[in-house]
Symmetry: C2
Subunit: 298 residues, 2 copies
Amino acid sequence: VVRGIGDDAAVLRLAAPVLVTTDVLVEGVHFKRDWGTPRQLGRKAFVTAASDIAAMGGRSVFALIDLRAPASTAVVDLDGIYRGFRDTATRAGTRLVGGNTCRAAALSIGVTLLGEAPNGWVGRDGCRPGDDLFVSGTLGLAGLGLRLLRRRRGARGPAVRRFLEPPSRLVLAQGLARLGGLGGMIDVSDGCLRDLGHLCAASRVGAVVDAGRLPLAATYRRLCGDDLALALTAGEDYELLFSARPGLRRRLIALARARRCPLTRIGRIVARPEGVRVLGAGGRELRFAAAGHDHFRR
Amino acid sequence: VVRGIGDDAAVLRLAAPVLVTTDVLVEGVHFKRDWGTPRQLGRKAFVTAASDIAAMGGRSVFALIDLRAPASTAVVDLDGIYRGFRDTATRAGTRLVGGNTCRAAALSIGVTLLGEAPNGWVGRDGCRPGDDLFVSGTLGLAGLGLRLLRRRRGARGPAVRRFLEPPSRLVLAQGLARLGGLGGMIDVSDGCLRDLGHLCAASRVGAVVDAGRLPLAATYRRLCGDDLALALTAGEDYELLFSARPGLRRRLIALARARRCPLTRIGRIVARPEGVRVLGAGGRELRFAAAGHDHFRR
């Protein structure tokens, strides 16, 4: 930081190329205030934005925050959001260099992150037929948590916690970028199938997902049984979905162990005409309404 | 742009140091929808954010937009905002590289700009006693326009237009930075006296403003007469307020002519203990409630 908060603009030193992303959490759209604590909200605002930097294989370096709140908002709540954000950012090596606070009808937290890609960056367009398809962590637990919160105020448990406190995959992502040999990568924010569709469209390829290999948390299995709909179509997982050359399997297993984050091979990249398909037991194709998340469906 | 819209984050090449700022216009706080056109709104969203880059003597290079709107918003209005923003950005050499659209209770436009400072950057802290104090354009007309809009729906005229269509001082600012010998600089967004206060606080100096030298538009004089309150305390001028070594006067006159933008010497920088004062006829001190703009006055 050459010049931080307190001047008209921040003046920063960043290694080229610069990664930039912006993301926002809006009350009534992405969250309700009584679902969690202000700290969780601030934390999640950072992690969801950082997920875009992670999906490029980068590291976040600087953050700007755009915090808007009704005039009636308690200062202690604003402070909680701010602290949750800043503490999580700091742990991820990211410095808050500016932002705005203003009043608005609804509470919202907008985040802009600037990052670097010291190990090179990974786009969405690098998947090749023959690549393995991997996903980090587990799928669907956050979506399940959201469903529980919508059903019952004050819902608690692992699924709710996974929704309120998504993990940051920044460190894992940099490890992946360092490997070399990665294909394309995206973060799962709109639902696995929908984001896989984006990945395949950008790479002009198709993909086959093996339903039996999807990584599901114990809580997910207990509450959803064999129903894979949430795992494949619910949003907010913030896991990394990527393709890799088959020669990379061993090193990916080692990386998963070192980073203590599961990396599961859930399928493979195929030629474009084959489309994006999910195969169940006996190779039977399963169909899911790609619900995902779209603010302006109309 | 190495990688623009369509991937998880934008990948950009920027010359160091990088300037960053974020700003926002919120319906009901900064504007009402029937005050102007969607295009004017998009235009203003760019100019107000760019004003922070200008105040550093920089140029804006990349933009991200965070557009939120009620689900009921007409697509033609969203399109107008977007076009107004993009056209103004393009004219200023700024490329839109990303952003978000989501629904929200109120319409709002958040803008993040990334810039460069090829001629060096100018902070708020460079004012020295003995510097001349300059301001670009005129003061108070936008504040007058806002007052007229608040009084009467459908108000029109030069003052209203000045409020709805603030000028961009990006080109002027780069000319200023190129001169060398500038002291400190800030943009007048919260009211001249309030921003002069920020400038002086950052530079640890005082200032004396000669009331008789304030640049006022003809419409301002006609409607406000000798009342300088709006010129000194109303916000949204988006003019540049800066100090310069006295040896720079001639070159500033030449720059003003070349850029077709008035630069008026309105006072001088003095030692800190003298404070920030406005002197009227006969050297009598004038006092103004530094109203300015503060969202969380409480």
